[in-house]
Every structure is written in structure tokens, then in C-alpha cells.
């Protein structure tokens, strides 16, 4: 399984360092966060220096239905000549869907991306909705329109789904039965599961969400599609075990969990505390918690090269720009440990990783160490139950 950088603002040299250190396999750029010209030149640079890197652009067309929200911030998406806003009713007409696809494919044709992610809208409520019908239409039409563009690079249809939609099992199953039977097939899917807010981790670490995100990866991969998961962060290795070929994460919390909030002004506040991703805990803890835990539970340390970025001998806190490198390194290593060509064996590895995390948290508690709210074990039970539900429903 591959790991991609989910690129947002504040790119700096993070992606190039990640590629140089072989922590990531590529990057997914976002039109909102970089001026189009800057993005084009950064992509060219990366392709020149790292010809094996996979470079993608998330069209972020999914914000097109939010034009009426007064505070919406499209950022630099408006630099793209193909981007414009719509009302749902307009996209119910299939010729408009075709036009959006056609214009986007034309605009992306000259960019040095290694594969093309097709635009789609956001399914914000349920799979039994007008939005879902429009989204399926985008998926169905993508291949045909793309082939007309003459572009030979792989094509990925996008699916951007709110986590609530994943909670109605019947509707969800009808939806995946539908999209696995396409007459004109893209090479794969770019999947984003949206939370209500980037900080609402419990939205994503929810039994049904974990199980159904994995089900999507499994069903699509069984049917010969490659699945790239956007904003999958710590769930990446689990999605890989279910058949996904790639996952992505970035340096800000809104690049780790997707929320449409990303297109609205943030409430501001202080910069977040720098965190350390512990493979053992399957979670990020603050750098000071890491220091405090090492004498009691030494295995919270990953024993990987970027651990040294967190060495506090020479500075009071780690360098912020190094935080994501440590995350990528830990995730990459976790992916390697948990992945297996056989889904059932990969899943068993995931269960074992959760069990180790559970045990480590018990040990931490037994020493009377109290962790910050985000560092606690609240993700463990939904993960475990999500995996159990997935195993049962996937008949593994």
C-alpha cells in the first residue's frame, strides 16, 4: 500500500523531504490551497526530481454546491478556468455533468500528474438522495468523457461521502452494489469520507464508519478497481488491509480528516501542540507525553529515524515542520507491518495491532498517567468494533 501526502497550505519542503526520505510515495494537491501557477511549478519540480513519485490533484469540485453559503472560501480554486458553482438542479441534467467532466479533463491534460482524479459532488446526507444520483452519474460518465480527451493516464472516479451516509446499512449496500457494476469503468476510485468537523475524531472513529469505509475498499478492490483513500490518516493501514492501494494524510488536522469546514473560515486560535504518532498506541500523543511515557512504556517509541526530530536535548520543542515527516514515517512502517496480500491475514494483523494498543493503554493507566483528551484510548473501541463488523459483513 502506498502513502501520499495530502497537500494543503504551508507546503514548504515537506513533500520533497518526504519523497527524499522515502516516507511517502506521492502527493495529492488541492487547488484551494495553492495558486494554480505555484502548483503547476511545484508539480513540475517534484516530477523532475522524483520521477517515480505519483502526483495527483483532487479537483475539489465538491464545493461547487456551496456557493450560497455566505462564508464559503473557495481559495485558489477559482484560478481554474473550468471551475464554477452550480445548483443541484443544474447537475441533474446529464449534459451538465458531461460538460463539467469534459472541461476539467481538458484543463488537467497539460499538467504533469501521473493519474487523473475526476470531479464529483459531495454526498452530504444519504445514499438515497438527489446528490447520490448526481454523484453516480459523475462516476458513470467519467470514463467515456475521459477517453474522448485522449489522455492515457489512469483515471480515478471520485466519491466524497459524508460519514452519516455510511450509517444506513441498506442504502450503503445498495450503493456499493450499484457502483461495482459500472458498464464503463474508471481504473479506480478516489474515496473521501467526510466528518462534520476536522476536529471531530469521533465522527470517523465510529464503528459503522470504520466498517463501511473498509467495505468500500474491499468491494471496489474485489471488482478490480484501485482505491486511493484521501484524508485517511491513521486508518490508512486498516483500509490497506481491506484492499485499498493508497491512503493520504497531511500536516494540519484538516488534512488528516476531511470536512467541508475546510472551505469555511477557521475559528483561529493557537497553533496545535506538536504530536508524536506512536505505532503502538495507534494514536498521536503530545511530544511531552511521549517523553513522560518512555520510562514506563518504552514501546510507545517507534524506534524509527525520525524519532530523533523529537530529541529535546537541544530545543524545548520539536520543529513543527518535522511533525508530518514523523507521522508519515510511522504510518509507512505500520502499513508495512499490517499489510498482507490476503485480506483475512491482513485483518488479523490489524486486530493484533489494536490488541497491543489496548494493552499499552491499560499499562499507561496502571501507572496512573493521565493523558490529554486526544491522546487517550477513545479510538480503540470503535476501531475494534469497526473491524469486527467489517469481518462479519465481509464474511472473512
Amino acid at each position: 500500500m502506498k502513502l501520499f501526502a495530502q497537500v494543503g497550505h504551508g507546503l514548504g519542503d515537506k513533500v520533497t523531504t518526504g519523497l527524499k526520505d522515502k516516507l511517502i510515495d506521492g502527493a495529492i494537491f488541492s487547488p484551494k490551497d495553492l495558486k494554480r501557477d505555484t502548483m503547476v511549478s511545484r508539480i513540475s519540480e517534484i516530477r523532475r526530481e522524483y520521477p517515480d513519485a505519483e502526483i495527483l490533484i483532487d479537483p475539489q469540485f465538491y464545493v461547487c454546491l456551496f456557493a450560497n453559503s455566505p462564508a464559503i472560501n473557495f481559495g485558489n480554486i477559482s484560478d481554474w478556468s473550468c471551475f464554477r458553482t452550480f445548483r443541484k438542479g443544474e447537475l441533474e441534467r446529464s449534459q451538465n455533468v458531461d460538460l463539467v467532466l469534459e472541461e476539467y479533463f481538458r484543463e488537467v491534460a497539460d499538467l504533469e500528474v501521473t493519474a487523473v482524479l475526476a470531479p464529483n459532488i459531495y454526498i452530504s446526507q444519504s445514499f438515497d438522495s438527489r446528490e447520490a444520483v448526481i454523484a453516480k452519474n459523475f462516476v458513470r460518465q467519467a470514463r467515456e468523457i475521459y477517453d474522448k480527451s485522449g489522455n492515457k493516464r489512469p483515471l480515478f472516479a471520485s466519491l466524497i461521502i459524508c460519514r452519516e451516509a455510511l450509517q444506513d446499512r441498506k442504502e450503503f449496500e445498495d450503493f456499493i452494489n450499484d457502483i461495482t457494476m459500472l458498464e464503463t469503468r474508471p481504473d479506480g476510485f478516489y474515496l473521501i469520507i467526510a466528518s462534520r468537523a476536522s476536529e471531530a475524531l469521533s465522527d470517523i472513529y465510529h464503528t459503522d464508519v470504520v466498517a463501511n469505509w473498509m467495505m468500500l475498499n474491499l468491494a471496489l478492490s474485489i471488482n478490480g478497481f484501485e482505491v486511493i483513500n484521501g484524508y485517511s490518516d491513521l486508518l490508512t493501514p486498516f483500509l490497506g488491509a481491506a484492499g485499498g492501494v493508497a491512503g493520504a494524510t497531511g500536516w494540519w488536522s484538516n488534512l488528516r480528516v476531511f470536512s467541508i469546514d475546510r472551505f469555511f473560515p477557521s475559528v483561529g486560535g493557537r497553533l496545535p501542540i506538536i504530536r508524536y504518532l506512536s505505532k503502538l498506541l495507534l494514536n498521536r500523543i503530545t511530544f511531552s507525553e511521549k517523553e513522560a511515557l518512555i520510562p514506563f512504556v518504552p514501546d510507545v517509541l517507534n524506534q524509527l529515524p525520525h524519532d530523533q526530530d523529537y530529541d529535546l536535548k537541544h530545543s524545548p520543542e520539536p520543529e513543527r515542520s518535522r511533525e508530518v515527516l514523523q507521522s508519515w514515517e510511522a504510518l509507512k512502517s505500520l502499513i508495512e507491518e499490517l499489510s498482507d496480500n490476503d485480506v483475512a491475514r491482513g485483518l488479523e494483523n490489524c486486530f493484533q495491532a489494536i490488541s497491543r494498543a489496548e494493552q499499552a493503554y491499560s499499562e499507561i493507566a496502571s501507572f496512573g498517567i493521565v493523558l490529554d483528551q486526544k491522546s487517550r484510548d477513545e479510538h480503540i473501541l470503535p476501531l475494534l468494533n469497526g473491524l469486527r463488523q467489517f469481518k462479519d459483513r465481509a464474511e472473512l
Binding site: 449496500e173 445498495d174 456499493i176 452494489n177 450499484d178 461495482t180 457494476m181 474491499l218 468491494a219 474485489i222 471488482n223 478490480g224 459483513r393 465481509a394 464474511e395
Partner: protein, 294 residues
Amino acid sequence: MKDKPDIEKVQQVIQQAENLEEIGLGGYKVVYKALVGGKIEAVKLVQIPSDESDETIRDENLRRIGRELDILAKCKSPYLVKLGSIAPHACEIDALEYLVYSEEYLPGDSLREMILKDYRPMREELAELGVCILKAVLELALMNVIHRDIKPDNIIKTNDPVRTYVLLDLGIAFQIGGTPITRNSARIPGTLYYIAPEMLDQGFRQNLDYRADLYTVALTLYEFASGDNPFAHSGDPQFTTLYRIKTQRPRPLRELRNDLPAEMCSLIDQLMRKLPALRPANFDQLIKEMERYR
């Protein structure tokens, strides 16, 4: 068939056929082996159930039979039974209305007969069955037709090396996008022991696709290989069987046939998953995979 007509009377009515010999009996159908124009064929006599108070029942049944024949006439696959030389026509015996037509006669045993004789296929034979029936289902799928009644009783092992296994009986085949024939949409067509789980859902016709046939192909392969239908046990009430089809995971085939390749067993198990989306549905890949074991 209730009130099966006397064979002498049938012989009188079907004058193109000689030496009628009964070889099969269904709910509304008798199948005879007969000599037709010097060639042995399977002659089918299908009762047209009717109700004097409801003319539409007769029409419905006529349309169903007509559809089966239309589909058969279009099929080119050697793995699907072919029409014979008696063109479909109506006849009357003892004041009951029947439709008569013939299909090619396929000498050989049905898989059901082989299972009952405790016959267990070797890897190559099971793979050959998989390839033949998948190719038959592919041909139907290309015509947007779902067979809906694939089971050991409807597959003949022939002596012809070009078409080792042939799929019969398109009587309840479903045309995607066709006009509904069954007026009672709650009725589940097919043999209940060999029915895909999604066909037990309310309004299943809305979403039915060829993956229902892939499920029954796998169930047939599983039963032929192991001698066991994992959902239907003799003496069980029908509801129990249906409940198992909907909810119970069959024992992995490999546990019953550890001499078969693990990947082959796993593929058959996967095709029997409850959710159609979780069944590998790419015909080219499936056929290629099965061909590896021949």
C-alpha cells in the same frame, strides 16, 4: 405435474415425434426423449395453467414460455441447451391446454444424479464445470438475461469434449429492463434451495443482476465438489433454509475438500458472499482463474 397426460395420448398429439419415453417431470412440464426426424430430441410438453375467471394467468404463462424460447433461440454458447426441430405450438389433451416444443437431447447424467451417486469431481473436472457454466452465464449476461435457476438438476454432464457441461432450463430467466411477467411481485422465482440471498429482499427485481447467477454457479460448484448444499438440509422447514441463505456463512469449501487448491476453494467461497458487491464479478478474470485449474 398434476394430472400428467397419458403417454399414448401425447404421442397422438405430437405426431412429429416417435418412441416417446418420459425422462423428466416438473411442476408444469413433462420431458420426453423421442425420435424426431430421425434424430433423438428432448420433447417438452408444458401445461399452460389457466383460470377461467382470470384470463391473464394463461397469458402470463404463455409469455413466460415464449420468453424462454426467445432467449434459447438467440443463444450461441455451446454451454446452453439448443432448441430442437419441433417449433413451439399449442395442443390440447383431455381438455387441458399445453405447449409443445423440442430441445436437443443431451445424453449424460445431471449433476444431481452424480451427487446422489456420491460422485466427487477432481480439481480439473470441477474447473471444467466452472468454465462451461460461467461461459453460459456470460452469454446470458450479455443479453441482459439472468437465469435464476442454476442448480445441479439443471446441468448435464455430456460425453461431448467440446461442451462437457451444458446448462438447461431458462424457464424463469429474467430479462433486465423487460416487461414484468409475474404479476405477483412478492413471489420468489427459482428453486428455493438455490436462490441468491438478494432475491429474498423486498423489491429485489429493481436491483437484480448477473451476480445472482454467479452465486448459484458457486453454490452448484460447492455442492458438486462436497456433496453438500450448505443451506438446505433434508427435513428442515423451508423458512430455515431461507434464513440460512440470508444469514449463514457456509463452511469454507476447503474444509470439505482439502485436496482442492486453496485459491480455487476461496474463489468459490467468495462468489457465495451474501452481498453481490463482494462477489468478484469480472467474467474474464473468473474464467481465466478457473481455466488455471483445468
